[in-house]
């Protein structure tokens, strides 16, 4: 671990992963909010809303994230002049968050929608029978049960989001994959060690997280 005893390199490593953490956190929040709204749209009685949700999912789920992030920078920022922050790093960060949220929301929406399908029809029928409106049925009866059913898929989506946040490096944010590339360029002889440090950090964090989500999903599952 000589490599990381150089404070500059350590700084590169830590800054990289702190960007990844922040991207994942902000992206997950944005994707969750957007995704729940979209899922609500997709099961609503109004065709225009359903169509909007379906179009969102089909467009963003089938477009490469790289292209979306690229568009956020060169399209929204450079060409159309949308600026989200004064500082260049922060601006790239927020552009990345927009891209990640918009993309991941499509997957969150589909996960929640398939979760809604696991709720037995009787639950919603009973709720309607006691006079709850569509919105109340969704909010009080269906979504809480659907939410517990989709913990495992949501976990996978957020884990994928953490890995995907490296793609924001494409638009110049010094996140961990960029840091790794810089270190490989500077210390070619230690390239395997560098890869193991960076990839190992991801593996060490994400593999237990995956098991944690699996455990949570089992624990919180609605037993029927």
């Amino acid at each position: 671990m000589d490599l990381l005893s150089d404070p500059d390199n350590l700084d590169l490593y830590l800054t990289g992963f702190s960007w990844i953490l922040r991207l994942t956190g902000a992206g997950a929040l944005g994707a969750l909010v957007l995704g729940v709204i979209l899922a609500g749209f997709r099961v609503s009685p109004i065709p225009v809303l359903r169509g909007f949700g379906a179009a969102w999912v089909n467009i963003f789920r089938n477009t490469p994230l790289t292209l979306i992030i690229f568009f956020c920078y060169f399209g929204l920022f450079s060409t159309l002049g949308l600026s989200l922050a004064e500082e260049i790093d922060l601006n790239n960060f927020w552009l990345g968050v927009v891209g990640l949220s918009v993309y991941t929301a499509a997957f969150v929406c589909e996960a929640i929608r398939s979760g809604i399908n696991t709720v037995p029809a009787g639950q919603a029928e009973a709720a309607r029978a006691i006079g709850l409106s569509f919105f109340q049925v969704l909010r009080m009866i269906v979504l809480p049960q659907a939410g517990r059913a989709v913990i495992a898929p949501l976990g996978s989506i957020f884990i994928a989001l953490a890995k995907n946040s490296t793609i924001v490096g494409t638009i110049g944010l010094a996140e961990s994959s960029n840091a790794m590339k810089t270190l490989i360029n500077d210390y070619g002889s230690q390239t395997i060690l560098i890869f193991l440090i960076f990839a190992g950090t991801f593996a060490a964090v994400l593999i237990p997280t995956g098991y944690l989500f699996g455990w949570l999903a089992n624990r919180l599952a609605v037993k029927r």
């Binding site: 009685p45 060169f74 969704l138 898929p153 360029n185």
Partner: protein
């Protein structure tokens, strides 16, 4: 179970009026938003004819988009074949009776699923030449090998979950008529697992096609690189180029998904089915085994 019937009743007169009002309000809002986007684009002159005219010229297609598309498709095809093979081998490896096969196979699968694909491609492209005596790694192979290791690991988990979801009686009956483990796997379990897991497999292949766009980062001349970056730089029409490229990606993935739907309809016979109320076949089948730690650019949420 169709969600439409569950969450709301057939609309009565009041609900019909309310739905109509909401339709009009949301529709108007949506149109306003689209018009606002149109105006913003217009303000920056993004609708100018010279930005879109390149797409009417043969030159653009012959020199930029079609060669890029060819590279994208060839990388995707090679990676698909390799990662399906990789997935099968490692799924069987993880189900092996011998711990010295099971554990390493499990470690490989877990590791490659957890590492960002971009890092793998960077390592293969920038890092490997330092160890193999300076022989450069072609961008094509850096991308294809990265895609194979990553998607192959995800597919291995899908196959494994599929094999576990085949009713135990199937395997027992096969052993009962004297098949070996190898034969049981090949003739009985894997074919059924593959069919049960078809939705997961296809969504992973869609992920694979999309992830070829990462090749742009190591200057592999695929669709992103040629059709968006190079073309956009030449003609200063990034927005237009990105929209056209996105449309092409969406079209390819739409074809892939439709093909899967077609195959599924054709092969629909009596056999094991993943229960209707399963959220996602991989997760439900694999939940008690091991939670899939990750999936491709977000490919887990299969079209349910």
């Amino acid at each position: 179970m169709s969600t439409d019937a569950v969450l709301y009743d057939h609309p009565g007169p009041r609900a019909k009026i309310r739905n109509l009002v909401l339709t009009v309000v949301f529709g108007a809002g949506l149109l306003a938003l689209l018009y606002w986007i149109y105006l913003k684009f217009d303000e920056k002159n993004q609708w100018a004819a010279e930005l879109w005219k390149p797409f009417l010229e043969a030159n653009t297609w012959v020199n930029f988009i079609i060669p890029g598309l060819q590279q994208t498709l060839s990388a995707a095809l090679v990676a698909m074949v390799l990662s399906l093979t990789f997935g099968l081998i490692f799924a069987v490896g993880r189900l092996s009776d011998h711990w010295w096969i099971r554990l390493p196979a499990g470690a490989v699968v877990e590791f490659f699923r957890a590492v960002p694909l971009l890092m793998m491609i960077f390592f293969l492209f920038f890092g490997l030449p330092y160890i193999n005596g300076g022989v450069p790694v072609p961008a094509f192979w850096a991308v294809v090998i990265g895609l194979t290791l990553y998607n192959g690991s995800v597919l291995a988990e899908a196959f494994r979950a599929g094999v576990r979801s085949v009713p135990a009686g199937q395997g027992e009956a096969a052993y009962g008529i004297g098949m070996r483990k190898n034969q049981v796997m090949r003739y009985i379990l894997i074919p059924q697992a593959a069919r049960a897991m078809l939705p997961v497999i296809v969504s992973q292949l869609v992920v694979l096609v999309k992830d070829t766009a990462l090749g742009y980062i190591v200057a592999f001349p695929e669709l992103m690189q040629r059709g968006v970056n190079d073309l956009g730089a030449n003609r200063a029409n990034i927005v237009a180029a990105a929209l056209v490229a996105a449309a092409i990606y969406i079209f390819i993935n739409f074809l892939l998904t439709s093909l899967a739907g077609f195959i599924e309809r054709r092969t629909r016979r009596r056999g094991i089915r993943v229960p209707r109320n399963a959220v996602n076949p991989v997760h439900t089948a694999a939940q008690n085994v091991a939670m899939p730690a990750g999936m491709g650019g977000g490919g887990g949420a299969t079209g349910a």
